[in-house]
């Protein structure tokens, strides 16, 4: 027990870096997913080829190797050295963004054709149609996979320990070296990763429910199980 009490601040510090890289990586991956994913659904062939090329290249490259390349090789080419945290965020964001783009593209294509046609019949411009009609409906479909990708990215962030960023994994290895308590040192990291994953999972579930309610699904289910009366205000409960 003493081990955990004494080492908690160190683990928390490691968790901070893990979180930082996860959040940064997710932000980058999200932007890439949306842009590349939407471009992948355009009618313009060139646009689609560019999107496809991005996905194939960055999905096929190991995040770890990409990070090494950004951190060790890029300075040789450009003379600039990236901060290790930044190199990690870039590598993870670029890699996971490729998966995310496929998710976005698939979700957009899954919106029923009739919705596009109704958008044409109401004379929306293509950008308005995407923004007002298609993306809000595709959003609910994207979220579950985005949730998984966030967790994947969070666990993948462990690779930064290899370029000496003191994230959770790095901290666990150091604790093991200094204390000799192999079991406990890695148990601490396991627990911390699990807790962080739970937090992300909870937030994503909430976002999924909200997205479904906006599409008129599950209106009778409360957003939070216990606060049913507080959030049930949108539904009048009248049978159609």
């Amino acid at each position: 027990m003493d081990f955990f009490v004494e080492s908690l601040p160190i683990y928390l510090n490691g968790a901070w870096y893990t979180l930082l890289i996860t959040v940064g990586g997710c932000a980058l991956a999200f932007v890439i997913s949306m842009v590349v994913g939407v471009v992948g659904t355009l009618r313009n062939v060139l646009a689609r080829v560019v999107a496809l090329a991005y996905v194939e290249v960055f999905r096929g490259v190991a995040a770890l190797v990409l990070m090494f390349w950004l951190f060790y090789a890029l300075p040789l080419l450009t003379g600039y050295r990236l901060e290790p945290v930044l190199a990690a965020i870039l590598a993870l964001g670029l890699n996971v963004g490729a998966y995310g783009a496929e998710n976005v593209r698939g979700a957009i294509n899954a919106v029923p054709r009739g919705q596009y046609e109704a958008g044409i019949a109401l004379n929306f411009e293509p950008v308005q149609r995407m923004r007002l009609v298609i993306l809000p409906q595709a959003w609910a479909q994207m979220l579950p996979t985005f949730g998984n990708l966030i967790i994947e990215l969070m666990k993948g962030s462990a690779v930064v320990s290899l370029i000496a960023v003191s994230d959770l994994t790095f901290v666990a290895q150091q604790m093991r070296t200094f204390s000799g308590q192999t079991l406990l040192a890695f148990l601490g990291a396991l627990v911390m990763y699990f807790v962080i994953a739970q937090v992300f999972q909870f937030l994503m579930r909430l976002a999924e429910r909200r997205a479904n309610r906006r599409l008129g699904r599950d209106l009778d289910k409360p957003l939070f199980r216990r606060a049913a009366s507080a959030t049930g205000g949108t539904s009048k409960g009248g049978e159609p």
């Binding site: 029923p112 009739g114 919705q115 046609e117 109704a118 044409i120 019949a121 109401l122 004379n123 929306f124 411009e125 293509p126 308005q128 007002l132 009609v133 809000p136 409906q137 906006r214 599409l215 008129g216 699904r217 209106l219 539904s235 009048k236 009248g238 159609p240």
Partner: protein, 276 residues
Amino acid sequence: MPQSDDNNSAEVPKAREAEEQPLVRFENVVKRYGDNVVLDELDFNVLPGQRVTLIGPSGSGKTTILRLLMTLEQVDDGVIWVDGDPLSHMYRNGALVRASQKHQRGVRKKIGMVFQQLNLFPNMTVRRNITEAPVHTLGMSRDEADERAAELLEMVGLADRIDEHPTRLSGGQQQRVAIARALAMRPEILLLDEVTSALDPELVAGVLDVLREIARTTDITMLAVTHEMGFAKDVSHRVLMFDRGQIVEDGPPERIFSEPREERTKSFLHAVLEAG
């Protein structure tokens, strides 16, 4: 109008002159899906204010006509004109070339459509379903669009459901909202594509009543594909019988329904009335 003698005999609202410019004109329109010719050099006109019902066996090209007019599909040959402007094409250096998307947007704003599959936007309330397009594409203010939405919902009998989610409405109610949504754009031409076919039988009457009311109180031009022959009889000025991508018979509903001249019309009507 070469293909039929009674094209002009169709009853048109009295204030209108027979020689006025057609609002819709199909000129030798051809539409193919692969080897399947859906519309075969189709020629016909619709005058302003005319309400036209398209009937015929499935696969005869009726729905394709509406989809071409709404620019959901593009012609393979021929030209579609709307109010004197080409819809499928545009002028460039005096010659007709394929229309750009932008050109089509400019012309099709005169056209509204209601679909068999309802197609309300599930991510919006009833109000936003109706107001979003006028606000974003016509530049209407929110207040004005809200006011118009309230009026239209009143007309379709759903004034109290304005802030409801479409998923909370029955199919018939959703279709009435879809009609209000199309009218909110103040189209000159309303396309109705089998708007009651996907509804439970007991919900059909409510939707047809709304359409009868629109026919009675407005002079909007309608092109309707329907299997509701009673409705076609009540509302339309003119019935076009299609078969294999061609107009087989063209005339006022009283004549077509009571004394069809063509064998194909007779057998089609017989089959439909049997089923109904």
